[in-house]
């Protein structure tokens, strides 16, 4: 460095030590804000919600002002942002907790043996059961899986092993991404239009629902399988080629088995995603109150549609049916959660053992 002229420093010097708020400052501020809001609220006769909102605002403004006075502007901004982040979290989680609480508290009282083994056939007064809807949901979703898994998995194999960077592959990849955004009701309309043309106008059947759900499921399967196949080390493919194994066998016997745990996890999650879809089934499967196990003929009930129609058009016994809707919602959530947990467990159990 040649001849450094002593230049005026632009750096604002601060001592290392500076006044800092006590560690418990956020807590203190929270207590004061809560007290102030409650006092104000009680004296003006507010409800709970305004008190909470006011308390929150007092906290946000109070803490950052305090920090600005004692510490400095930067510390104050930091505290403000921190509080905002936590506020956002709380605001986002309150509805979730309310939702889960509502479903569990309203739904659990409906669930009993009759609820799970009866259909709604010939049920006039008093609660019936959702057996027909559970069976419908299982059949329709199974159908969707049977359609989606082979197509999705093979397409993923194409993308990872054959297409790679070809133009067709990048188009498929791009359109698969776009396809993940297709609204479910559009998928339902597509299935309806398809079967209207192929089978006859106004056709409704369970298999149509499977087709509609496949439109939603295939892109998820493709994406997750593709990720999993990409995770298989090139080493393994090369080891197999080096043993004189042809490519297709390498894929079938080495690559796919290695990725299997991840693929199954992905498929399970995809099933969990579509099993709760309502809109397409409303259109293409219709509704019935009897058990129908034949996906190729006649309307088929499903849990989501049962929930929707029990709430929306409960008929002569609204209280009973709405109660059942909450019960069915709880059952549906339990199925979805079980699938999610199953996916995690399968992922763990099936992943290649290292023996360690």
């Amino acid at each position: 460095m040649t001849a450094v002229a002593p230049e005026p420093s632009l750096v604002v010097e601060h001592p290392l030590q500076r006044p800092r708020l006590p560690k418990l400052a956020p807590l203190i501020a929270a207590v004061i804000a809560a007290a102030a809001a409650v006092l104000l609220g009680l004296s003006l006769g507010w409800g709970v919600a305004p008190i909470v909102v006011t308390g929150g605002l007092i906290y946000l403004v109070g803490l950052s002002t305090w920090s600005r006075l004692v510490e400095n502007a930067r510390a104050a901004t930091d505290r403000l942002v921190t509080s905002l982040v936590w506020t956002a979290l709380v605001i986002a989680l309150i509805p979730l907790i309310s939702l889960l609480y509502t479903v569990i508290s309203k739904g659990s009282s409906s669930i009993n043996a009759k609820f799970l083994t009866w259909s709604m056939r010939n049920v006039l007064d008093g609660p019936g059961g959702i057996y027909h809807a559970i069976m419908g949901t299982l059949i329709i979703t199974l159908g969707a899986a049977i359609i989606s898994v082979p197509i999705g998995l093979l397409a993923a194999v194409y993308l990872v092993e054959y297409g790679q960077h070809s133009r067709l592959a990048s188009w498929i990849r791009f359109l698969v991404d776009v396809m993940t955004g297709i609204p479910s009701i559009v998928a339902g309309l597509f299935a309806y239009a398809l079967f209207s043309i192929i089978v006859g106008p106004g056709t409704q059947m369970g298999f149509g629902g499977s087709v509609a759900l496949s439109i939603l499921m295939i892109p998820i399967v493709v994406r997750s399988s593709e990720e999993m196949l990409k995770l298989v080390p090139t080493d393994l493919r090369e080891a197999s080629y080096a043993l004189g194994v042809p490519k297709w066998k390498t894929i079938l016997k080495v690559v796919i088995p290695t990725a299997m745990a991840g693929i199954i996890t992905g498929v399970t999650l995809a099933i969990a995603r579509v099993i709760g879809e309502t809109a397409p089934l409303l259109i293409i499967c219709g509704a019935t109150d009897s058990v129908n196990l034949n996906p190729f003929s006649g309307q088929m009930a499903s849990l989501p549609v049962f929930i929707y129609s029990s709430y929306q058009s409960p008929g002569a016994n609204p209280e009973v049916l709405r109660q059942m809707a909450w019960g069915a919602a709880l059952v549906l959530i339990i199925i979805v959660m079980a699938l999610n947990i199953l996916a995690r467990v399968l992922g763990k159990v099936l992943s290649p053992k290292t023996g360690h």
Binding site: R237, G244, V245, P257, P352
Partner: protein, 259 residues
């Protein structure tokens, strides 16, 4: 069963990038040939042309000739899958198939090629190959356990067992010890000593001492600069290379002045 390899006028490309230029060499049967040189000079690339693994990479191709016992590998009528069965390969990092047990790993090459093996034949192959790879005693009690459960050095020997189970005539090894600790390294080096009785072995190594220890002949590759193709500078008996090499570049490299 081992065979010699003749390479003439070989140019190796990644798409349009000429990675290795104009290689001519003869690799003797039933001996160990070491390939040395600074990083990026094309040792691995060259090695992989000897069993047509190079063309697995999209866009990769070669010009020139590689012949095993006079039979050209790159003739259009030759099936690369058959070439790879004849010329086995062991990689830098041990890569047993994670879904398979130790025994299944050894049998993978045969099984995946549709060989129908009876139980006793299979047991034979497993024992013979693992013994060939000096691993039998360590694993004979847990043949059904996953291959991934072994230590790094054991895994590498498992990979060697897997490679020799299909009874190749040539064995290529790309830095087979660089991921191993010293004890495993010496186990593998011992194994190489034994294997050369039966196989033609070509080994890439970064470790000068290792090259000196295991090989009969050594080929030194170098490259003029980044983006330039690698070239074969000198190939000679290992003793000569490490004492009085023909080329100055070889001398500079071996004495550690660069690389």
């Amino acid at each position: 069963m081992a065979k010699s390899i003749d390479v003439s006028d070989l140019n190796i490309y990644y798409s349009d990038f000429l990675a290795v230029e104009n290689v001519n060499m003869t690799i003797k049967a039933r001996s160990v040939t070491a390939l040395i040189g600074p990083s990026g000079c094309g040792k691995s690339t060259f090695l992989r042309t000897l069993n047509r693994m190079h063309e697995v990479i999209p866009g990769a191709r070669v010009e020139g000739k590689v012949a095993v016992d006079g039979q050209s590998l790159y003739d259009s009528a030759v099936d690369p899958v058959e070439v790879r069965r004849m010329v086995g390969m062991v990689f830098q990092r041990p890569n047993p198939f994670p879904t398979m047990s130790i025994a299944e790993n050894v049998l993978a090459g045969l099984r995946l090629n549709n060989k129908k093996l009876t139980k006793s034949e299979a047991a034979d192959v497993v024992e013979r190959s693992l013994q060939g790879a000096n691993l039998w005693n360590e694993v004979k009690d847990r043949l059904g356990k996953p291959g991934m459960g072994l230590s790094g050095g054991q895994q590498q020997r498992l990979c060697i067992a897997r490679a020799i189970a299909v009874e190749p005539q040539v064995l290529l090894m790309d830095e087979p010890c660089s991921a191993l600790d010293p004890i495993s390294t010496s186990a593998v080096e011992d194994l190489i000593h034994e294997l050369k009785e039966q196989y033609t072995i070509v080994i890439v190594t970064h470790n000068m001492q290792q090259a000196a220890r295991v090989s009969e002949d050594t080929a030194f590759f170098n490259l003029a600069g980044a983006g330039k193709p690698g070239r074969l500078i000198e190939m000679n008996p290992t003793k000569k290379i490490f004492s009085v090499p023909d080329e100055e570049a070889t001398e500079a490299y071996i004495s550690g002045r660069f690389g």
